[in-house]
């Protein structure tokens, strides 16, 4: 699963970091604590946050957040125990828990079968698994595509046409991208 893979990727990079980031003259115990802290880039189940949450790395939330979450250029995972009442902006948003609020993603929003979203989604790619709960609207923003220089190879959309041919192939399985 995507969110599981993401976690393992985060762990993988965290394991690699201490070798370069930790100064060699530091004691081993401090180095170990840092490694552990870098591994756990998440907000635990018992943590409650009210206000604006910004970050510059991948984030996993298992706790309760009320306010605004901004992790641009990074992925945000709402764990199974995560309860979010906030506006969310990230590169990739994976929802296994619950979000009440609008979601903006620069790359992808993925709602797992156990995920619940009450709010509007704005992202170039959206995946809603069977069993997920969603109430709101989906706007597959083409900002990213529009920013790219137009080439003759790309399919042209007739002027004023709202419904156009999709950029990606229609997925057949529930778990695939854009389901």
């Amino acid at each position: 699963m995507a969110w599981m893979r993401q976690k393992s990727e985060t762990e993988g990079t965290a394991n690699e970091r201490p070798a370069t980031a930790t100064p060699p003259n530091k004691p081993a115990a401090t180095s170990g604590r840092e490694t552990r802290m870098e591994k756990l880039v998440n907000i635990g189940q018992s943590v409650q946050i009210k206000g604006e949450l910004t970050g510059n790395e991948d984030l996993t939330i298992e706790g309760v957040v009320d306010g605004k979450i901004l992790v641009k250029d990074h992925s945000l995972t709402i764990g199974a125990n995560g309860r979010i009442s906030a506006e969310v902006h990230a590169k990739t948003v994976v929802i296994v828990g619950t979000i009440n609020g609008n979601i903006t993603a620069d790359d992808k929003v993925e709602i797992a079968p156990s995920g619940t979203v009450n709010g509007d989604i704005r992202a170039p790619r959206v995946s809603i698994s069977d069993g997920a709960k969603f109430k709101g609207s989906i706007d597959m923003d083409r900002k990213g595509a529009a920013a790219q220089p137009s080439t003759s190879a790309s399919p042209s959309v007739s002027k004023g046409s709202g419904l156009s041919t999709p950029r990606t192939e229609m997925p057949r399985s529930a778990s695939s991208s854009g389901n």
Partner: protein, 220 residues
Amino acid sequence: MLFRRKSHDRVGTVGLPRAASGAADVRSCPSLAKALKRISTRVKPQILDLGPLCGSTAVFLANRGARVCVEGFKPPPPLPKKIKGDDAEPVAVERFCIDQPTDEFDLVLGWEAIDFTPPDRLEEVVGEMKRVLRENGLILMLSRNSTGSRKPVRDVPGRFRVVAEDRLSREPAGAETSTRWVHLTREIERVLKPLSVQGIHLQRDQTREILALSKPAKSS
């Protein structure tokens, strides 16, 4: 000697849809294709999907440039029976409401919503669909044909997965059953007024596809 199935037997069985509450069966839906073609000329069309939620359908439509709103349709219960007499206390009935603004959508996908609506609430439910519809907006509804018995049955509401612009499949949405009613075509047409019914397409599995258009208000 091996029995060989004749070619016309194959033709007769392959295309037949399965039971309404059974496993997924892909069927053609010309009314959906017609509706999507019609709204394709509009800039950023707004589509309301009354559900039950099918993620792939919402994404399919959104991927084509539309803004898709998903609303979980909860069928209203039948109205309580009137009790004659002066001492009968009035019973409060919750009004059916689609939690969306008026004149907002170019297409309302009602799917089987009317089939799970009791006859005495049909006008109210369709009235809400009409309220959220823009001028020249379309309503697409699917309904079981009224031939034969009109007795309501228990059925699992269907979730519709759009696999192509003119093809969709029906899957049971969960395991919870609800009462499924049968409405006469003339009853549906009556509640749809003043919309213009663009066509009623009868499928081989006795499903009616009803497409109605909201006419622009006449300027005086």
